[in-house]
């Protein structure tokens, strides 16, 4: 049995590489001399490690789905695909951190270490199959996130963001554990599959105990993906953190949370039961609220970063709407949405970060007349904004269309209508940037150093998928459709 247990490590290579990478980076960071050249080696080591992880994930993709480590971890196509998206997000955030002036030069290697640590947590969360690994994933993700948010040590807002994040995070983790302990107490198992087996046959008393417990369980995940009653921390943290950190937060923890939520929903609530009705009802209400609150609050923002923070809340709401449809079509559309969301968010944050580095703030006015100075970048930003709004023929349109169509197929008309209306609202603030960039005269004629040739190429290469996924979306859609959940 022990040998079998260890043999499972063959399917767990991506995580092993990440842990080794993290430990290796800590040793490197502790021993190197502080000069520019050595720092470059650490950066290269991080990139190599992450690319190796990506390679291992691609190799895992073709293997058959199975539950490993006595059923505590599930390696399936779904989790592997989500992990790949997370690795790409981390790669991009670390690359952005290299030239961003928002992170102190001496803390850049720490940023890389912590990003890898958070990625490990995200990996655990994406393939967790019992409540223990699930909690460990959330906690690894959270503890490092708190510090990451407070990375600008001498900045008051950054420290405030870190403290706020830590306090809210501690409370929500406590609530979640309370709910989990009730689930374990009543059902006597921490395995997701074991819980799922008992859910349809609950007595009414058990049901009355478990209903609040599941709400508490949702609180833990809802906090991580910043869905509405638990979103209060999100704009402050996103605005206070350095921009590369914000980029990272908008992608990795959010997608990990979404993945865990998909797995829980798909495992627990397959068979009809009163619990399922309650959970889906909860998801519908929270999804509609998340979209609306995120969008409506984004309208009045002056800072582009804060606007993107609220917009990412509303995108989490849209992904929640996809989870409401618990079947293959719903999961497929959420995975596809996650992939497109990655590229759109990255480009928007990259450009914002570079503009912010130049002027020291990221107000909307800083984007005025960008098209006269950097026409290429302005066009890229405009493309991404159109895509985030959901206009054809861009990736955002296909992603949103898929979620709406799966909602309509499963007769969730109300939620589909809310989603459609929200897209209209979001057009206002997304297109505001486009209007400023193209119609307003430029504020100054200075050169923005961040838009060097290499960075422009990187940004362009990240925008290309937004075009390609909008027109030739079948390949990725098939990939997403192949990303089936394995339930055991």
């Amino acid at each position: 049995m022990h040998l079998n247990y260890l043999a499972n490590i063959g399917r767990y290579i991506p995580e092993v590489i990440l842990v080794l990478l993290m430990v290796g980076l800590i040793i490197l960071e502790a021993t190197y001399k502080e000069d520019e050249k050595n720092r470059k080696y650490i950066f290269i080591a991080t990139l190599v490690g992450l690319v190796a992880t990506l390679g291992a994930l691609i190799a895992n993709m073709s293997g058959k789905a199975e539950a490993i480590f006595s059923n505590s971890i599930i390696i399936d196509q779904f989790s592997t695909l989500i992990k790949m998206v997370m690795v790409l997000g981390t790669l991009a955030a670390i690359y952005l951190s290299r030239f961003s002036k928002d992170i102190y030069e001496s803390l850049k290697t720490e940023f890389a270490i912590m990003a890898v640590g958070i990625l490990i947590g995200g990996f655990l969360l994406a393939s967790a199959n019992n409540m223990l690994t699930f909690y460990l994933g959330i906690e690894t993700l959270s503890i490092l996130s708190y510090v990451m948010a407070a990375l600008k040590k001498n900045d008051q807002r950054s420290s405030e963001a870190g403290l706020k994040y830590a306090l809210y995070g501690g409370i929500s983790a406590g609530l979640m554990l309370f709910g989990m302990s009730h689930i374990f107490g009543v059902l006597g198992t921490i395995q997701f599959a074991g819980v799922a087996k008992m859910i349809p046959t609950l007595t009414s008393a058990q049901l009355a105990i478990l209903m609040p417990s599941f709400v508490l369980l949702f609180a833990g995940i809802g906090y991580k993906i910043a869905s509405v009653p638990f979103h209060m921390w999100s704009p402050d943290v996103y605005e206070g953190s350095p921009t590369p950190v914000t980029t990272f937060f908008a992608i990795v923890p959010k997608l990990a949370g979404i993945a865990a939520l998909i797995r829980i929903t798909a495992v627990f609530f397959v068979v009809d039961s009163p619990m399922k009705i309650g959970w889906i009802g909860l998801l519908i209400v929270i999804s509609a609220l998340t979209m609306t609150v995120g969008n409506v609050t984004a309208i009045g923002q002056k800072s582009v970063k804060r606007m993107l923070a609220y917009s990412s809340i509303s995108h989490a709401g849209i992904m929640l709407a996809g989870i409401v449809v618990i079947n293959d079509v719903g999961i497929r559309s959420v995975v596809f949405y996650g992939i497109t969301y990655l590229f759109m968010t990255l480009v928007a944050f990259y450009i914002t970060s570079i503009v912010q580095d130049k002027y020291g703030n990221d107000h909307f006015d800083r984007f005025s007349g960008l098209i006269y100075r950097y026409p290429f970048m302005a066009v890229m930003m405009a493309v991404v904004m159109f895509s985030l709004t959901g206009l054809p023929p861009l990736a955002g349109f296909v992603a949103k269309y898929n979620i709406i169509s799966s909602l309509i197929n499963s007769k969730n008309y109300a939620l589909a209508i809310v989603l459609g209306l929200n897209s209209v609202v979001s057009a206002y603030y997304y297109l505001k940037i486009v209007r400023l960039m193209t119609l307003k005269p430029q504020e100054s004629n200075e050169e923005i150093e961040g838009f060097g040739f290499l960075n422009q190429m990187v940004i362009v290469s990240m925008t290309v998928p937004v075009f390609v996924l909008g027109i030739f979306w079948e390949t990725i859609m098939n990939l997403a459709a192949g990303a089936k959940l394995f339930i055991q």
Binding site: M1, H2, Y5, V19, M22, V23, I26, F69, S70, S72, I73, K101, Y104, E105, S106, L107, E110, I113, M114, G117, I120, G121, L124, L132, T133, L136, E139, T140, I143, L144, Y146, V147, A150, L151, K153, N154, H182, F184, G185, V186, G188, T189, T203, A205, Q206, A208, I209, P212, G360
Partner: protein
């Protein structure tokens, strides 16, 4: 049975004192006592190992850490003067009612709490057998979590000299 009731009352009283006491030191001491009485409840239930861990980790380390921190900082700025508002009161009453309802359901319906865990069989050998076979991965991942927390601590408390210089340089660049 008498012991059970006594311990329960003790835990409740101390827990309430944590929340309602005006002085921070008293609150911290009550927290320590709450954790100790919970340890005694574990002992009463026959889970000796859990009781020992509770005393060592929660009461011994964490509560003492609280008191220690209080010694180091100026206490007067942390007076326990929370504001009382109507909405807070309503929410706390509602929460209490829900939790009481859940507990009464558990007791009234004889729901077999923790049927999966055989309480009498809690020798350390069984526990660690499980920990190093079935739950080895979570155990290892907990070490990664601790490593992450360590890194986090170092980053938070690390030297700020270089950072200050950098910040000044950045500010100068912006002013130009």
């Amino acid at each position: 049975m008498a012991y059970d009731i006594l311990l329960t009352i003790m835990t409740m009283v101390f827990a309430l004192m944590v929340v309602f006491s005006k002085k921070t030191v008293v609150a911290a001491f009550s927290l320590l006592m709450t954790l100790l009485s919970i340890a005694m409840i574990y002992f009463q239930l026959g889970t000796v190992f859990l009781a020992a861990i509770q005393v060592l980790v929660n009461a011994g380390a964490i509560a003492i850490l609280f008191v220690f921190v209080m010694m180091l900082i100026n206490l007067e700025q942390f007076q326990n003067n929370r504001e009382r508002s109507k909405s807070k009161l309503i929410i706390s009453i509602l929460t209490t009612l829900i939790i009481l309802g859940v507990f009464s359901l558990i007791i009234n319906n004889n729901i077999e709490v923790l049927s999966a865990v055989n309480i009498s069989d809690n020798s350390m050998k069984t526990l660690f057998d499980k920990l190093f076979t079935e739950y080895y991965l979570p155990f290892e991942m907990a070490t990664v979590l601790l490593l992450a927390a360590l890194v986090a601590c170092i980053v938070i408390t690390g030297s700020e000299k270089g950072i200050k210089q950098e910040q000044e340089k950045l500010q100068e660049n912006l002013n130009e």
